[in-house]
Symmetry: C2
């Protein structure tokens, strides 16, 4: 992978981006806005940590909020996602919209009808306050001082955005993977504020295997000498724990896809040919692919956020402190559409079925839908036609004011 040509994430971390001001009814859609929570009192986290000096919350919206605020849909993003669900590359966005085909006039999230909101998660690095942001005490990045956040903490910041926008109740809360964890927490924490939920390729509580994958990724980053305990923001240009982050991503990238797809796409094709003799770092195509994905992430994502958000995923358990998962689901009001991916081995579809079974047992309207795909976990991002069909059918089935 080598040293990066550019200075990597650090030079463009979110705190350096302009605060464009909070959204007001009538504003054009698609530009990122910031809500700043009051700085005069700390944001107290579930795990006991404090964020002092205020919290910036980056969010984006598409479509128009009705005067009665009845048409708002919250989309929650995955670990390395951001608020940019749809739209082209913009200033401050290094990637085009990650669910772009789903948002727009006539699309599954039909902006002629619904008002779509997405909030960058707390602890992230795409606008919302995270480890790369300045600490109020000294103006230097939080780094290792940033406290552990939970999915519940993320949801609380999203609730603040809802309050700010005047959304008392979402028509639906939708998201995949870590986004789906937020979806399930929304329905558990604020059942009266959630008209329906669509958790996709996710779980009610992280399993030991999931903890195994993500926690090992964290240790890989920790073992990068440039991580320096999380305080690497003063590294030379190009420095930072890029290798560790890339390696953690490479492991994850395997878990995001499948054996079948890798075989079809790469087989045993070699980048450096074997005919001239073997060498230790000769690569097969799949290695180049994994290196590409690892390297790509380091150009747009902060290692500390990766560490922090993956920890939040491991801590994810809607039953914690609530008498278990079953009791948590019983708080929900539904409807619940849980969506699994047939070939997902990271968040296997049985976990989505379990959510449905628990919801039905709790007397909720609930159903299971499956994305039929060979692509594995990432199918929730790749199989947009199937996701669109599933979402459209479900959203149109909801009883809403015309």
């Amino acid at each position: 992978m080598g040293v990066h040509d550019d200075a990597g994430f650090r030079r463009v971390h979110a705190s350096a981006l302009p605060v464009t001001g909070a959204w007001r009814p009538g504003d054009p859609p698609g530009a990122r806005r910031f809500l700043r929570l009051p700085a005069d009192r700390p944001f107290v986290l579930e795990g006991g940590g404090l964020i002092e000096g205020g919290v910036d919350i980056a969010y984006e919206t598409w479509g128009r909020l009705r005067p009665d605020a009845s048409n708002a849909v919250l989309v929650c993003h995955a670990i390395t996602g951001d608020s940019h669900v749809a739209g082209p590359l913009l200033d401050g966005h290094k990637t085009p919209g990650w669910w772009a085909p789903l948002v727009g006039p006539g699309r599954a999230l039909d902006t002629d009808d619904v008002f779509v909101v997405c909030v960058n998660v707390l602890g992230g690095c795409q606008g919302t306050t995270g480890p790369a942001h300045p600490h109020p005490a000294d103006g230097k990045p939080w780094g290792s001082r940033f406290p552990v956040v939970s999915i519940r903490d993320m949801v609380r910041t999203q609730a603040a955005v809802a309050d700010h926008l005047g959304v008392a109740r979402w028509r639906s809360v939708v998201g995949g993977s870590m986004g789906g964890m937020q979806v399930l927490e929304w329905a558990t924490m604020y059942p009266e504020r959630v008209g329906s939920i669509v958790p996709i390729a996710t779980c009610a509580a992280a399993t030991a295997q999931q903890i195994g994958w993500w926690s090992t990724g964290r240790r890989i980053i920790r073992n990068d000498p440039e991580w320096r305990g999380g305080d690497y923001y003063d590294a030379e240009p190009g420095g930072g724990p890029h290798e560790g982050l890339a390696l953690a991503r490479m492991v994850s990238q395997i878990t995001f896809r499948t054996d079948d797809v890798f075989t079809d796409r790469f087989g045993r094709a070699a980048v450096e040919p074997l005919q001239g003799g073997f060498s230790l770092w000769q690569r097969f195509e799949v290695e180049r692919y994994l290196e590409y994905h690892g390297d790509k992430l380091t150009r747009r994502f902060d290692a500390n956020s990766y560490v922090l958000l993956s920890k939040a995923m491991d801590l994810h358990d809607i039953g914690r402190g609530r008498g278990g998962v079953e009791a948590a689901v019983a708080r929900m009001q539904g409807p619940v559409l849980a969506v699994g991916v047939s070939s997902d081995f990271l968040y296997p579809s049985y976990q989505s079925r379990e959510v449905v079974d628990l919801a039905i047992a709790a007397g909720l309207r609930s159903e299971y839908a499956e994305i039929d795909s060979a692509h594995g976990h990432d199918a929730f991002l790749l199989e947009v036609d199937q996701v669109a069909e599933i979402l459209t059918k479900f959203l149109s089935s909801l009883e809403v004011d015309p």
Copy 2:
């Protein structure tokens, strides 16, 4: 994981062990012996590399070889295995026999009947020449100078042991995982020397996903600053790329087992309790388990051997240079018993079925047997009762001289 109390692998690398001399008929069983290949010419490897100065080959035997040498069974070990298939901890062996319940009087590999041989693989670190051995030019460890070895190179050293012992033809060649790769190469390279084969939880050619897992493990080791390009043998006591090796092992350990078993065994149990507040390095039980396995490996295994042997596994393709896997299988003489594990997602059972299908298509007697287990890949080591039953049935079905 932290710094190790002991000096780790380096102090006991195989070159420091006494050469006990080659086995001779009548010798007692179970002690490790060494065969030294001639030092007057280099051992030329498939990939073009040379091992000069002779090759030490460590092997062990159990039972007695008949005068006609008709009762020899070769067992091939997996990546971090060794020649110590059975028997207690011995001088030079840091682990008890890895298939001990299968070897002995009246057992599946019945030492009243068969003569069992296991050879430590070339490039390994349990007796046979590998990167920790002294280079003939300067007496310092080979380190980064050690050439890439292939499964075929391993098999050639095993053929030298067979020659030395006077075994013209193995009654059977048996092994799991990387051992199974050697088994398949034996039948392809030396069909006339192999009476039957039992490849277990393995494949005819490594898939892209398998290459993905192992190659990422190598990169994790490479990124450990203490790996130093492979030349770390002069590190301070306790030094060396232990963290990198442990992390690579942790990823592998997840792939060796299953979601179900992790859930049953660990669930979401925490080592450091969550009640007192969250912290980044608080661990769930599964993390402690993975750390334990990672750390354990660093106490008995050399990182360079791990890098080298995993590369050999990625290079594994019985069809390379032979017109493809189908043509390679057509060289075999059978019988072929391929054994899969129902829950193996690292070497999925379809790969064993494919070997059987190809063998049948080539006109060989071939059958598939499955280890029914929730344990995943490691079931070939854990489900010894099932392996014993499968092996016993197959071996007793072979036409052998009474």
